[in-house]
C-alpha cells in the first residue's frame, strides 16, 4: 500500500478535528458558479437538460435512456447501469477517499477553479492573500477541457487520471448536458449557511412530554454552546502557516432552532414549510414525535433537507429515499429479526407455520410488516395474520381459540403487556412465541414466569449487562442539568447523534452542501456508541443499526435477559 499514494487527508482532518477551537474566520463568499448563458443546452431548455444530466450522473443513463458506455482500467468496458459518476464521486460530487484511492471532487465550484495538490481547499482569494506561490496542478476547466478530460482522462495540464476514472465516449450533445449538470452540482452553498453560522433545527411534534424534550434539547444545546465557546479566544495565530488558514476556513459557529409543531399530522408539512421559509436550516438534528415519523420524512424528501437521526422507532422504511438518516428501522427491524431468526434455525419445525397476532397500532403493524416483508424476501410463503380489534387486549380465550384453530408452530405476539394474562394459553402446548422488547417496554421483566422459556424476545439494543459503560458517556452532555432516563434512550441517542455529527462536520470541511453532509456520514467508519451494538454507514445506507438479538427473560422477580442468538443480521 505504501508509496502508492500519499495520504491526502491530513489537512482536512485537522481542519475538522480542531476547527471547533478556532476563532471564527471571516465569512467566505459562496464559491462562484459559472454563469451559464441563459437559453438552451444541446437544444433543450436548461431545466430539462439539468434533469437529464442528473440522471446521467446518478443512474448512468444517457438522455436516450440507454446505459452510458465507458471504459475503465484501460480496456474494461462498463455500462453506466453497473456504476455511475455518483458511485465514486458521491451525490454532492465532493468525491471520496477509500483504500488509498482518492476520487477527486467534480462539483461545479471546484471545476471552476484551479486544482492544487497542496492545500486544495483554499479559495483563490485566500491564496492571493497568503501570497502562495505553488503552481496549480491544473487550471480551471473550460467546457472544452472538461469534455476532453471525460473522454480521454487527460486534464488540461497533461496529467493522465488514474485508470479507475472511467473514460466516457459521449456525443457532443450528451457531453454538453452532463457538463451543464456538473457546472451546477454543488456550485453554491446550501441554504442554512448564514454568515459565519451553520444553522440547524430540531422538530418536536405535539404530545412529547417535557422530560423527553429536555432529554434531547439539553445535550443538543450543550453541544452547540460548547462548540461555539471553544472558538472564542483562539485565533488563527495558533495555527501557524497556510494549513491553519485552510483549517479555519472550514470553521462555522452552530445554531439550533426548535420547530414545535401543533395540531394534526396532516398539517405538519405546511407548518414545516413555514419554519423553513422563515429561518432556513442546513439540516435537522434529532427530533421527537410520539407516532409516525412519516410526515416529517416526507417533508424532508420534498424540501431536500437532511434530517439526522430523528429519535423515533417508527421511521419510513425505504431503499431509495435519501434525506433522513435513521438509527434503525425501529419496530419494523424487530419483526425482520424474528423472520431471519426463524428462517435460520437448524430445526425447521418452528418455522413451519407462523401466526402473527397483531395489536391494532402503528407499532404492531410495523412489527408485522417487518416480518412479512422479510419472510417473503427469504423466499417463504405468506403466513396467516390476525389483526386484533383496536383498544381491546388479547383475551385468554381468544388466544386459546386461535392456537387450537390455526395450530401454528410459532406465534408472533405483537402486543403490549396487556396480553400477559392470555399467555397461559401457550402452556397448554409447546407453541413458542415472539414478543417485542420495545413494545413491552418496562413491563418486559414482568413476563409471567410460567411462559418465560416459551417466549422469545426481539431485542434491538446491546446486551443490557454491557450497556451501562457505553451509556455513561451520554451524561457528559447532560452537564448535571438533568438525570438521564435510561429507559427512554433519548439522551443516549442524542449523544450518539452528536458524535456522528461532529465527525461529519469535520469531514464536510468547508463544502457546505446538504448532500455532502449525508455523503460524509455515508463514508464514516463503523461506530460503537450507546444503545445499539454497532452503527454502520455507507453511501445511501440510511439505517445505521442493522441487527437485533433474540433474548429470553430469566427466572425470578428481577430477572436478567438471557441472550439466545448472535446479532441477527441475515
Amino acid at each position: 500500500m505504501s508509496g502508492w499514494r500519499a495520504i491526502p487527508l491530513l489537512s482536512r482532518c485537522l481542519a475538522g478535528a480542531f476547527g471547533f477551537l478556532l476563532l471564527t474566520a471571516p465569512a467566505l463568499a459562496a464559491p462562484p458558479a459559472t454563469a451559464h448563458p441563459a437559453g438552451t443546452v444541446a437544444g433543450l431548455p436548461e431545466d430539462k437538460a439539468l434533469a437529464l444530466g442528473e440522471r446521467m450522473y446518478r443512474q448512468g443513463l444517457l438522455p436516450s435512456g440507454e446505459p452510458m458506455p465507458s471504459v475503465v482500467n484501460n480496456d474494461v468496458p462498463v455500462a453506466g447501469t453497473a456504476f455511475s459518476c455518483s458511485s465514486c464521486h458521491l451525490r454532492a460530487g465532493l468525491g471520496s477517499w477509500e483504500g488509498g484511492i482518492v476520487t477527486l471532487p467534480t462539483n461545479g465550484a471546484r471545476l471552476a477553479i484551479p486544482r492544487y495538490w497542496k492545500f486544495p481547499n483554499l479559495s483563490p482569494e485566500e491564496r492571493r492573500e497568503l501570497k502562495l506561490q505553488n503552481p496549480a496542478a491544473r487550471p480551471a476547466y473550460t467546457d472544452e477541457t472538461l469534455a476532453h478530460l471525460l473522454r480521454t482522462g487527460r486534464d488540461p495540464s497533461g496529467y493522465d487520471m488514474h485508470s479507475v476514472m472511467p473514460r466516457y465516449h459521449l456525443s457532443d450533445p450528451d457531453m454538453a448536458i452532463l457538463i451543464h449538470y456538473l457546472r451546477n452540482l454543488s456550485a453554491r452553498h446550501s441554504p442554512g449557511v448564514v454568515g459565519d453560522t451553520l444553522r440547524f433545527a430540531t422538530v418536536i411534534a405535539p404530545g412529547v412530554s417535557e422530560d423527553d424534550q429536555q432529554a434531547m434539547l439539553v445535550p443538543l444545546n450543550n453541544y452547540v454552546a460548547r462548540h461555539n465557546q471553544f472558538s472564542a479566544g483562539f485565533g488563527n495565530r495558533m495555527y501557524l502557516g497556510v494549513g491553519g488558514n485552510e483549517m479555519s476556513g472550514a470553521y462555522r459557529k452552530l445554531s439550533l432552532s426548535v420547530w414545535r409543531l401543533t395540531g394534526a399530522p396532516e398539517t405538519w408539512e405546511a407548518q414545516l414549510d413555514a419554519f423553513l421559509a422563515k429561518e432556513p436550516a442546513f439540516a435537522l438534528l434529532g427530533g421527537l414525535a410520539p407516532g409516525d415519523w412519516k410526515p416529517i420524512h416526507a417533508f424532508c424528501e420534498r424540501a431536500q433537507l437532511p434530517c439526522l437521526f430523528p429519535i423515533t422507532d417508527l421511521p419510513v422504511v425505504s431503499d431509495t429515499d435519501w434525506y433522513t438518516q435513521y438509527f434503525s428501522k425501529g419496530y419494523y427491524q424487530e419483526g425482520q429479526a424474528a423472520a431471519r431468526y426463524l428462517h435460520g434455525l437448524e430445526d425447521p419445525k418452528p418455522a413451519r407455520k407462523v401466526l402473527q397476532i397483531i395489536e391494532n397500532s402503528l407499532e404492531g403493524k410495523a412489527l408485522a410488516q417487518g416480518f412479512r416483508d422479510t419472510w417473503a424476501e427469504l423466499g417463504q410463503a405468506a403466513m396467516p395474520e390476525i389483526l386484533l380489534p383496536e383498544g381491546k387486549p388479547l383475551a385468554l380465550a381468544t388466544l386459546a381459540d386461535l392456537l387450537a384453530r390455526e395450530k401454528p408452530s410459532t406465534v408472533l405476539l405483537w402486543t403490549g403487556a396487556s396480553a400477559f394474562p392470555a399467555l397461559t394459553a401457550l402452556t397448554r402446548g409447546a407453541t413458542g412465541a415472539f414478543m417485542s422488547a420495545r413494545l413491552l417496554g418496562s413491563q418486559l421483566t414482568s413476563l409471567p414466569e410460567l411462559v418465560r422459556t416459551q417466549v422469545w424476545i426481539t431485542y434491538p439494543y446491546r446486551d443490557p449487562k454491557l450497556e451501562p459503560k457505553y451509556s455513561l458517556y451520554a451524561d457528559t452532555l447532560l452537564g448535571g442539568l438533568m438525570q438521564r432516563h435510561p429507559e427512554t434512550r433519548i439522551s443516549t441517542r442524542t449523544y450518539a447523534l452528536i458524535q456522528i455529527l461532529r465527525q461529519a462536520l469535520m469531514d464536510m470541511d468547508r463544502h457546505f452542501y446538504r448532500d455532502n453532509l449525508l455523503d460524509r456520514i455515508g463514508m464514516q467508519r463503523d461506530q460503537i456508541l450507546p444503545d445499539y451494538l454497532r452503527l454502520s454507514f455507507g453511501p445511501g445506507q440510511r439505517y445505521a443499526s442493522k441487527g437485533c438479538f433474540i433474548m429470553q427473560v430469566g427466572p425470578g422477580p428481577s430477572p436478567v435477559l438471557l441472550r439466545k442468538s448472535e446479532w441477527v443480521i441475515h
Binding site: M1, W4, R5, A6, P8, L10, L14, F18, L21, V72, N73, N74, D75, V76, P77, V78, T81, A82, F83, S87, C88, S96, E98, G99, G100, I101, V102, T103, W117, K118, P120, A137, Y159, H162, S163, V164, R226, F230, F234, Y239, G243, H343, E377, L378, G379, T476, L477, G522, M523, Q524, R525, D526, R534, S536, G538, P539, G540, Q541, I569, H570
Partner: protein
C-alpha cells in the same frame, strides 16, 4: 467531551511537522503479484440466494477459483473490481463455466442476500459468480486467513486472489488489472 486545547495543539503541531499529507498525483500503479499459501477457515457463509456455503470445502475442492473482497455500497474500488469480474465472465468459453468467481462481503451488516442479488444484477453477473456474506466473526476469519484483514471497511484495498488448481497455491494480486492483464493472469494460473 471536554478536551484540553493545548494537548490538541501539540498533536496538531506534531502532525504538522511530520508533514507530507498532501495530495499528489496518483500514477496508475502497476499491480503487484505474489504467490501465497493460505489455510482456508472452516466457516459457513451465506450466498446471494440465502443458501449456506461451506467455504473450506468449496475452496479446497480443486475447482478453479478467483476471490475478492467487496461490499454493496463501496465507492471506486469495488465497482472497478466487479467490472473486472463481469468482463472476465464475457471472455470465458461458452458452456458451463469452469472458473468460479467469488466475492466476499466485508460489510456483512448491510450485505444481505437481497442486497447481494441486486448488486450482481447490476453487473449483469452470470452463473458462476457468487457473493457471500456471513457472521462478522466468520468474515473476519476469512479476511485474516487471506492476510486481508480490514478493520474499517472504508480503508479497504483492491485485492484479487486466484487459486492455482494444480498446486493449491494462491496468486495474490494487489492493485487493479486491465482486462487483458486479468485474462493473462488467469491463463498463467491455469484457471482459463
Amino acid at each position: 467531551m471536554r478536551r484540553n486545547p493545548w494537548a490538541t495543539l501539540l498533536t496538531t503541531a506534531s502532525l504538522w511537522l511530520s508533514g507530507s499529507g498532501f495530495l499528489a498525483a496518483q500514477a496508475p500503479p502497476p499491480y503487484t503479484r505474489t504467490l501465497e499459501t493460505y489455510t482456508v477457515p472452516d466457516v459457513v457463509l451465506v450466498n446471494q440466494d440465502g443458501a449456506k456455503v461451506k467455504l473450506k470445502a468449496l475452496l479446497d475442492s480443486g475447482e478453479p477459483v478467483i476471490l475478492d473482497f467487496i461490499f454493496g455500497t463501496c465507492t471506486t474500488i469495488c465497482p472497478v473490481l466487479s467490472a473486472g469480474y463481469a468482463n472476465l465472465q464475457t471472455k470465458l468459453p461458452a458452456g458451463p463455466s469452469k472458473v468460479h468467481l467469488i466475492s466476499v462481503s466485508i460489510d456483512p451488516e448491510n450485505d444481505t442476500p437481497k442486497v447481494m442479488r441486486d448488486y450482481l444484477k447490476r453487473y449483469r453477473a452470470k452463473p458462476g459468480w457468487d457473493f457471500f456474506t456471513g457472521r462478522r466473526e466468520d468474515i473476519d476469519k476469512v479476511m485474516n486467513a487471506f492476510n486481508a484483514y480490514i478493520p474499517n471497511k472504508m480503508s479497504h484495498y483492491p485485492l484479487t486472489l486466484i487459486r492455482d488448481p494444480k498446486t493449491g497455491q494462491w496468486i495474490r494480486i494487489f492493485g487493479m488489472m486491465s482486462s487483458s492483464e486479468f485474462v493473462a493472469e488467469c491463463r498463467k494460473a491455469g484457471v482459463l
